[in-house]
């Protein structure tokens, strides 16, 4: 790897702690340094990813020779520092502070949902008095309701202001604040509105006491009753912990760590998960689960059957498929193992079967371009956080809408000055806009040209003379830095990714030199894994299909002879061929993205035209109802496997509960079919399949090898979250409806089209899985259309008017043009996630 990956060695100095010398990294926050070496100092307000507030006063320590104690969180490690953390003074400070914090704290631990993981309880036991000296009445506040997902109990608040700082600094939204003064201080939101950012659930975790608790989890269970499974979701990047009891999912949190002898949510967790991972995963509890295998019983009916007969039917159908007559479509949320097994089924066990995953793209060219971009993607968000990239350019990314977790990490790096952020996009939102400079707005179809111009200019030379006429600041921004990152969003145009953008971006990276890296971001959860595990038509686990060496090594792994295919159609083409009746078997593995696919007619035709449709899924949909064989799969905490984050980090999905009913883990289903098709190699566990993948990925360019361990803790600290975008949607034309406060009863098309739709596939929208998460309903943003004020004036539209989009019976209010999230180029529309009821 490049030398970028080597972190600088820490510059240690000697600090005397309680008389014993200790080596600590110089200049680091003293409290954090002590925590890192396992010397625990109690603290409430300090959080490693937030600014230092120093208001809880619990981390007071004694500096030798000074009469007054000092707070450790506001000190840095310096040579020769002599501190005591065990003296009488420190002890009395902690006791005193705990007493102060408790004099007004209500004695409602039996009611409080934080009970059992409350830092106030823990510190009371460890550092408190044990008795109360107060006889005065306790302060009690009114209890407001301001957020559908966050419950606030101000009486329990200790005013650590972590939530306020989180909203200000991390989520980038000044929404929470401190009100009142003195001991009538309280936490609230401005205007009593909801905490409306896509990361709001994290304030629940970082609250050290029971002030902010989760409404969906409210009084559902006690934390000590729940089983914790460290896993990863099928929808979001990064690790999570699923808290379950008797197969039911109670809550999803950032990964828990072992502390104080028990696995708890680390109150200092440096990982923030998005609301989608936290609340959107509650589809797990939906009753509408597929629990038994089903086969078609004629006349469109389905009947339940045994696994044996279902699997045998599937294997029989696949065996009977002729050369090139079996088509496997692998959902983008499958695990690496599932991708690998599907590839083996398609290529090794069926005769020249087809396989691809790129269903989210509506055109063949876009799908191929996305595949190219993902293969070239080598950017590393950890490096970004470490400050290795001097500059970052985001091209057409719309990350907050499609991958808020990635957005959060990039923004944090920009905010901390670890990288200088520039934007080249059709639309800029406030989230990045405040931290980015320069910002370039272009019409979406002109972006590729703009990038190409930049690349061409850079190929000529890096000094200012070569800068393109209208892009000098951006040119200089890029040319000044030897090391940087280009982030390209593959989803911002929905399924219609401009195929020219990918080669242009790759050319730009090339022109910028070896220090620059490239990161293609998509909301397709395991896109990187699909490319790497060989679920893409032109890729084998060991290399491109055209490479004879890759064919040979893959055939060795598969235990089956392989031949180079004559052509490698991607998913859009495969769907077209399926609709034309060219396949005998269509194997749909967890194809969530097809359920809301814009080309529904095409898919319906494909289902009708194919002799045998095999669908693996967990929820019924119109697709499973059309399928001939339905095989019920498992949830993210019922399945073993690995997922690849968008920056290449591997996350482990682990089985902590058995699947509901007769459902099975997907790898087991696929392996069973392979066995019935007399595969030579048999796998008895997901780990064994992963072993094959490890062999295949001999070249560690895609993955960091130290992450490839199966020991969960080593995977947990990785924090890459990408949210899955919801649907792909064809371009709509704008048709004006009659004005009115409510959607008009009759569609009344009016003139005024000709605008292009740039839309944000907002992560917080309903999809095949998310729509079944009732807790998540509260998060759906108000669907809206944003217009450039000039266009709005030209069309005679004002705030609050309703318009109908042609191409779909969707009514949208035009929302607050003046407060549109960011600038828009002329003649562009911005639609925020139109709501449709899923089929």
């Amino acid at each position: 790897m490049t030398p970028l990956n080597v972190p600088p060695p820490p510059d240690n100095v000697t600090v005397t702690v309680n008389g014993a010398p200790m080596q600590l990294p110089k200049g680091k926050n003293l409290l954090q340094a002590l925590l890192d070496v396992g010397h625990y100092i109690p603290h409430y307000c300090y959080h490693p990813r937030l600014s230092v507030a120093g208001n809880c006063r619990l981390c007071l320590i004694e500096l030798e020779g000074r009469p007054k104690p000092e707070i450790a969180c506001n000190m840095v490690v310096a040579d020769g520092l002599k501190i005591r953390t065990d003296s009488e003074l420190v002890d009395s400070c902690r006791k005193g502070m705990m007493e102060f914090l408790l004099i007004n704290h209500p004695l409602d631990c039996p009611i409080c949902d934080r009970g059992g993981e409350c830092m106030l309880q823990r510190y009371s036991v460890e550092y408190g008095w044990g008795t109360a000296r107060t006889i005065d009445p306790r302060r009690r506040f009114h209890k407001p309701q301001f957020d559908p997902l966050i419950d606030i109990e101000r009486n329990r608040c200790i005013m650590c202001t972590r939530c306020v700082r989180f909203c200000d600094e991390i989520a980038g939204e000044h929404v929470m604040g401190v009100f009142g003064h003195g001991n009538r201080n309280y936490i609230g939101t401005y205007g009593n509105g909801p905490v409306s950012n896509p990361f709001s659930g994290n304030v629940i975790d970082i609250c050290p006491v029971g002030c902010l608790t989760s409404k969906p989890f409210r009084f559902k269970a006690r934390v000590w009753e729940l089983r914790q499974t460290n896993t990863t979701t099928r929808t979001c990047n990064g690790a999570v912990t699923a808290w379950t009891r008797a197969g039911k999912l109670y809550r999803v949190t950032p990964p828990t760590r072992r502390r104080h002898g028990a696995y708890t949510i680390d109150e200092d967790t440096d990982e923030f998960i998005s609301n989608e991972a936290r609340f959107g995963t509650h589809y797990a509890n939906h009753d509408d689960r597929l629990t038994t295998p089903m086969i078609a019983a004629g006349d469109g009916a389905q009947m339940t059957t045994s696994w044996k007969s279902a699997l045998e039917a599937a294997a029989r159908a696949l065996r009977n498929a002729g050369r090139g007559e079996a088509c496997f479509l692998a959902g983008e949320r499958s695990t690496n193992e599932e991708f690998y097994l599907l590839g083996r089924l398609a290529r090794g066990l069926c005769r020249a079967g087809h396989i691809d995953w790129r269903m989210r793209f509506t055109s063949e060219a876009a799908a191929r371009a996305a595949g190219d971009a993902l293969r070239a993607s080598d950017g590393d968000l950890d490096l970004l956080a470490r400050g290795a990239y001097g500059a970052t350019l985001m091209i057409h990314a719309d990350l907050l809408g499609t991958a808020p977790d990635i957005a959060l990490r990039i923004k944090e790096a920009a905010r901390a000055g670890k990288t200088r952020l520039a934007l080249l996009d059709a639309r800029v939102d406030e989230f990045f806009g405040r931290f980015a400079d320069p910002v370039y707005l272009e019409q979406p179809e002109a972006l590729a040209t703009a990038v190409n111009n930049l690349a061409a200019a850079l190929e000529h030379g890096r000094d200012e003379a070569h800068a393109p006429a209208d892009g000098a600041p951006l040119f200089n921004h890029l040319a000044q830095h030897e090391q940087g990152l280009i982030v390209l969003g593959l989803d911002a145009a929905g399924g219609a990714l401009n195929p020219a953008l990918v080669p242009a971006a790759l050319r730009l990276v090339q022109a910028l030199g070896a220090g620059w890296q490239f990161l293609a971001v998509t909301a397709a959860r395991n896109a990187r894994g699909a490319v790497a595990a060989g679920a893409q038509s032109d890729r084998l686990p060991t290399g491109p299909v055209t490479d004879p060496e890759a064919l040979r090594s893959t055939s060795e792994l598969y235990g089956a002879p392989l031949e180079a295919p004559e052509e490698t159609p991607a998913a859009p083409e495969l769907l077209r061929r399926a609709a034309a009746g060219q396949f005998k078997v269509l194997f749909l593995h967890r194809c969530d993205e097809l359920v809301h696919h814009p080309q529904r007619e095409l898919i319906e035709q494909a289902l009708a035209a194919t002799e045998t449709v095999i669908a693996v899924d967990i929820f019924p949909s119109w697709i499973t109802r059309h399928a001939d064989i339905v095989l019920p799969g498992s949830l993210f905490y019922e399945n073993d496997g690995t997922m690849t984050d968008i920056d290449g980090t591997l996350q482990r999905m682990s089985r902590g509960d058995r699947p509901r009913g007769d459902a099975q883990e997907e790898w087991r289903i696929l392996e069973s079919i392979a066995v019935l098709m007399s595969a030579a190699r048999r796998h008895k566990s997901a780990q064994s399949i992963f072993g094959d993948l490890l062999k295949a990925w001999n070249a560690p360019t895609l993955f960091r090898l130290d992450d490839l361990l199966l020991d969960p803790p080593s995977l947990l600290p990785q924090t890459n979250h990408v949210l899955l975008s919801r649907r792909t949607r064809p371009n709509f034309k704008l048709i004006l409806a009659e004005r009115g406060a409510q959607p008009p009863a009759q569609a009344a098309p009016a003139a005024g089209g000709g605008l292009r739709l740039l839309w944000n596939m907002h992560s917080q929208g309903p999809d095949h899985l998310g729509s079944r998460s009732s807790e998540f309903d509260a998060l759906h943003p108000q669907p809206r259309l944003e217009l450039n004020p000039a266009d709005a004036a030209a069309l005679g539209l004002a705030d609050g008017d309703w318009v109908r989009l042609a191409g779909g019976e969707v009514y949208l209010p035009v929302i607050q043009l003046e407060r549109a999230i960011g600038p828009l180029p002329d003649e562009a529309l911005y639609q925020e996630e139109a709501v449709e009821t899923p089929a």
Binding site: D108, C109, P110, I111, G115, P137, R139, R140, F141, H142, F179, G180, R184, Y186, R218, F219, K220, A221, R222, W224, E225
Partner: protein, 155 residues
């Protein structure tokens, strides 16, 4: 030998005139010590609200995992218990229970106590799963004032 015989009769005679220890159960019941650990009872406040807030500490401490409960949020207009939370489902499996009384000790609200009722025979096993209604004291048998939770800030 006769001497021994009379000794034996003497003992018998002596006991004829002593008070009887055997009780005519079930007509007559033995007085129980106040700390007797019989069937669980769930107590109330004097205004009839349940004391139990469904904190599940009894379930956590129970060595034989005989207690199952599910909590829920009170309707403020029509509360079940004195806090925000109440036990929607509260079951004790009396075949599992070992009558150790830990639940009673763990309870922070003095809600669950073990009463004097020791007659636990049933005809079917499922009848040993004792639910909340079977354990609750009658509404007029509550005691103590519920905690005052009135807002005392101007905000």
């Amino acid at each position: 030998m006769l001497v021994d015989l009379f000794k034996g009769f003497a003992v018998t005679f002596k006991h004829i005139f002593r008070p009887r220890v055997t009780l005519e159960y079930p007509e007559v019941k033995r007085p129980l010590p106040p700390y007797f650990r019989g069937r669980h009872r769930l107590q109330r406040y004097e205004n009839g609200l349940e004391r139990c807030v469904g904190c599940a500490l009894c379930a956590a401490v129970c060595p034989s995992e005989a207690i199952y409960l599910e909590a829920a949020e009170n309707d403020p207009a029509n509360p079940v218990s004195a806090g925000e939370r109440y036990a929607r489902v509260y079951q004790i499996h009396q075949l599992r229970c070992i009558w150790c009384g830990f639940c009673e000790e763990a309870c922070p609200e003095d809600a669950i106590v073990m009463g004097p009722d020791f007659e636990l025979a049933n005809y079917r096993r499922d009848q040993f799963i004792c639910d909340k209604q079977a354990m609750l004291d009658p509404p007029d048998k509550g005691f103590g004032k519920e905690p005052n939770l009135k807002v005392n800030t101007a905000l």
